[in-house]
């Protein structure tokens, strides 16, 4: 605004000198993948010492843009300018040596290596013959200097998610990164770990680095960002300064329209116990203890949320209830009948439905069409067959009805479902599961990877089922989602239920403590 008031030439000079204070400038970046334009003339820059949030929904092109900046992808068009010099990154090596460090959402760590081995990977400054003791000593000093507590000698597979993230950050600091990009850093952290991360980030910004935080969580932007750039469908829609940031505006920019969130419920949960788990224990895939003495019940017309960091027994819990995994001890009751040891087929007949974690692997068959996928559960029922043959006419009728009422967008009923978007896949899966009129619905990470609109639609479907009296077990790692939908919340930590709280008394910090394994008193 100041520049506008000045004569054109001075304004130009001012702009130029301003542009020199940028650590990074991305100009008109375009990147196309087969069938999609992931980035369309995107502009983005990072100043010294700032925390710059890159906000956008899944698929808006945030990760692609940052992968270009970190040298992983090459842009089709556009310029990358680092400290005023135009650069072409042929590989991540170039980006790292130019001071760009990226912490990926899915950590790029080698599990069978030690922390130190992971950190020095790709560093050509160290001697050819490795002296691990000395390297570990140096790393311990480095991590201490930044308040990032890690033990360089420990093996990565033994670390918690929060520790792995610290290793990733140390890795980049070790390589002398001036710009640190964090891709969805809080997705897998407990609230307490998130606070610690934010403190560390602020500390690093103070030391003059530029920090980019990729996120789709609005409250995080409010909490830490000095500036925010919003991406939508591959375009940079706006860049706002700290004092211009407000949630409604950000949401509107991100989605392109107003969103109304409401989750008022009209009915009270019933008193009938639909699902009961009594002291259930099982092993995980590694043959170690997966679930330990799990006891809880879910009533009709109730959403029971399971909170916790992924990998603490969520998958095992869903599989145990659905009969996909054997239990060692305890019993599972559905509507009072002991169903321990039932096969999935028997579970279906008991009125249990599952929306699994892996929707395109376990939930649906990627290479089969919509019809095939939708009749998977009831092809053997009277109505669907003629002797040993499937009555395709009836099947098609039913499927088109479902596709219409659940608003699944398909190009044809025969086309392989793997071509559908995540939101449509989940609608399709829910259509199949809900149409079996279940008494119990298990939903595992039902909105993972979906955009805001699809998330809202899935939430409405779940709440609709609750109104109809279905008991719902909702497993999610998104605390906001859990708190928004659930009537009661059970926290799963290291295979145990560490606490069960009623959602109207839920306090995010308390849940966080329970997630870290501190057992709380059972309210309710």
């Amino acid at each position: 605004m100041l520049a506008d008031a000045l004569p054109a030439t001075i304004a130009k000079g001012l702009k130029e000198s301003m542009s020199n204070s940028y650590l990074v400038e991305l100009k008109n970046i375009t990147k196309k993948f087969p069938g999609v334009i992931a980035n369309d003339k995107v502009n983005f820059n990072v100043k010294k010492g700032e925390i710059h949030a890159l906000l956008g929904e899944n698929g808006s092109g945030k990760s692609t843009l940052m992968s270009i900046l970190s040298g992983l992808y090459r842009p089709d068009e556009g310029e990358i300018i680092i400290n005023g010099t135009r650069m072409v990154f042929k590989s991540p090596r170039h980006a790292i040596s130019a001071g760009i460090g990226m912490v990926h959402q899915h950590f790029k760590l080698i599990d069978s290596f030690s922390v130190a081995e992971n950190v020095i990977l790709g560093d050509d400054r160290i001697p050819r013959v490795l002296n691990m003791k000395e390297i570990e000593k140096n790393l311990a000093q480095l991590s201490l200097r930044y308040g990032l507590h890690i033990n360089p000698a420990s093996m990565v597979w033994q670390l918690s998610v929060g520790e792995k993230q610290r290793v990733e950050i140390v890795k980049m600091l070790y390589r002398g990164s001036q710009v640190l990009i964090l891709d969805e850093p809080t997705a897998v952290l407990t609230p307490q770990e998130t606070d610690e991360l934010f403190r560390n980030i602020k500390e690093m910004a103070k030391s003059g680095r530029g920090i980019v935080v990729i996120t789709h969580k609005l409250h995080e932007v409010e909490q830490i960002a000095d500036r925010v750039t919003v991406l939508r469908k591959g375009n940079s829609v706006a860049t706002l300064e700290r004092d211009q940031i407000n949630r409604q505006e950000l949401a509107r920019l991100m989605v392109g329209q107003e969103i109304t969130t409401q989750c008022k419920r009209n009915t009270r949960p019933g008193t009938q116990k639909v699902l009961e788990l009594q002291n259930v224990s099982c092993l995980n895939d590694l043959g170690l203890s997966g679930l330990k003495n799990i006891t809880f019940e879910v009533h009709s017309g109730e959403i029971f949320g399971i909170a916790g960091v992924a990998g603490n027994g969520q998958r095992e819990l869903a599989e145990v209830i659905y009969g996909l995994r054997k239990i060692n001890s305890g019993s599972i009751l559905v509507n009072g009948t002991n169903i321990t040891g039932y096969s999935p087929r028997q579970m279906i007949d008991c009125g249990v439905a599952l929306v699994p974690e892996d929707r395109l692997g376990t939930g649906l068959i990627p290479n089969l069409g919509t019809i095939d996928n939708l009749i998977l559960k009831d092809y053997r029922k009277e109505k669907m067959n003629r002797g040993p043959f499937i009555n395709w006419q009836k099947a098609k009728q039913k499927v088109s009805r479902l596709v219409d009422s659940f608003e699944v967008k398909v190009s044809s009923l025969e086309a392989p479902v793997k071509l559908l978007s995540g939101g449509n896949l989940q609608r399709l899966l829910l259509a199949r599961e809900i149409s079996s009129k279940p008494q119990l619905l298990i939903a595992v990470y039902p909105v993972r990877g979906l955009d805001i609109k699809a998330t809202e639609a899935i939430h409405e479907l779940l709440m609709g089922q609750r109104e109809k009296g279905t008991a719902i077990l909702l497993i999610s790692e998104d605390l906001d989602e859990i708190c928004k939908l659930s009537d009661r919340i059970g926290v799963l930590s290291n295979g145990s239920i560490t606490g069960i709280i009623s959602s109207d008394q839920a306090d995010i910090n308390e849940i966080g403590l329970l997630m870290m394994g501190e057992t709380g008193a059972e309210a309710i």
Partner: protein
């Protein structure tokens, strides 16, 4: 069984194990880089025939070894091109190359079958070391290629576990995306070690035609390439373990051979089956042990790496 025969069997075990050892060392490097090479048998055969022809014509086995190495490497380069650059299925490519190698070596070597080699490798007793009881005659009264394999085992162990290059090699096999994001050139490393692996397989093959037999006959390897592939699992991708493993297999090979000469009343066909039966048994036992101890194959073994994959 008297002492001399016992020593003789052990010494033969080392000789019989050496071609397997070379091939297994090569396969360890290749798999450490994340590429499964089932073409070892073919590369050994091509190495064996090329090495033999050159050694025959130059009357110098060292030239034979050199050319065998280059020939094995050349076949491996095809594997690298197919699996790394073109991202073809590694199993299919490897099987195809084994068949290709078998056919090619038979074709090239047709007129050389049964010809005697004028100058094969000879045993050289290492002064001092060869006088140690038992160990001396077994390990230190051998030919130069055996001695070279000792050095190679130590060198490769050091390279894999103690150097920067080894760290990068292992990283690429475990998680090429992680290695790439840290500036390690995953493609280049995979190419290098696939070719080196093929070179070592070629040497292993040439050892058969230049010392162990020493002559050329069709399918001279008789499945040793496959045993080498199995041995890599037995050795848990560690060059030092491959040494013992090879001698174990060599020992069974030698034992079968000995039993025949001692007129033991066992069908020679059964004796010939021994190393392969042993392979199956060992694989079952070792796989179980590895599962318990959680020693796994390199995580990215068999998976092509594509940087821009979404």
């Amino acid at each position: 069984m008297n002492h001399d025969i016992f020593i003789a069997i052990l010494a033969t075990a080392v000789t019989a194990g050496t071609p397997i050892l070379y091939a297994a060392l090569g396969e360890i490097l290749t798999e450490r880089a994340g590429i499964l090479n089932l073409g070892v048998e073919g590369m050994m055969l091509v190495g064996a025939v090329c090495g033999f022809i050159i050694a025959l014509n130059t009357a110098n086995p060292w030239y034979g070894i050199l050319i065998a190495m280059l020939a094995g490497g050349a076949v491996a380069l095809i594997h690298a091109l197919l699996t790394i650059t073109l991202k073809a299925n590694q199993v299919v490519s490897g099987l195809a190359l084994t068949m290709f190698g078998t056919g090619l070596s038979g074709y090239i070597g047709k007129s050389y079958v049964g010809m005697p080699l004028p100058a094969p490798f000879h045993k050289i007793a290492l002064p001092g070391l060869s006088n140690i009881p038992v160990i001396g005659p077994v390990f230190f009264n051998q030919d130069p290629m055996v001695y070279l394999s000792y050095i190679l085992v130590a060198a490769l162990w050091f390279l894999t576990f103690k150097t920067r290059s080894g760290l990068h090699l292992r990283a690429v096999g475990e998680n090429p995306a992680a290695a790439d994001s840290m500036g390690v050139n995953a493609f280049q490393i995979r190419y290098i070690y696939v070719v080196i692996g093929g070179m070592l397989a070629g040497i292993g093959g040439a050892y058969l035609s230049l010392y162990y037999v020493p002559s050329w006959m069709e399918n001279i390897t008789a499945g040793r390439g496959w045993i080498a592939v199995a041995l890599v699992i037995f050795a848990t991708w560690n060059p030092v373990n491959a040494l013992w493993g090879s001698y174990l297999f060599g020992g069974i090979d030698a034992l079968g051979f000995r039993l025949q000469t001692l007129n033991v009343n066992v069908s020679p066909y059964f004796l010939k089956m021994l190393p392969y039966i042993f392979t199956v048994v060992v694989l079952v036992l070792v796989t179980k042990r590895n599962m318990v101890k959680r020693i796994g194959s390199p995580q990215a073994l068999g998976l092509p790496y594509d940087r821009e994959e979404r």
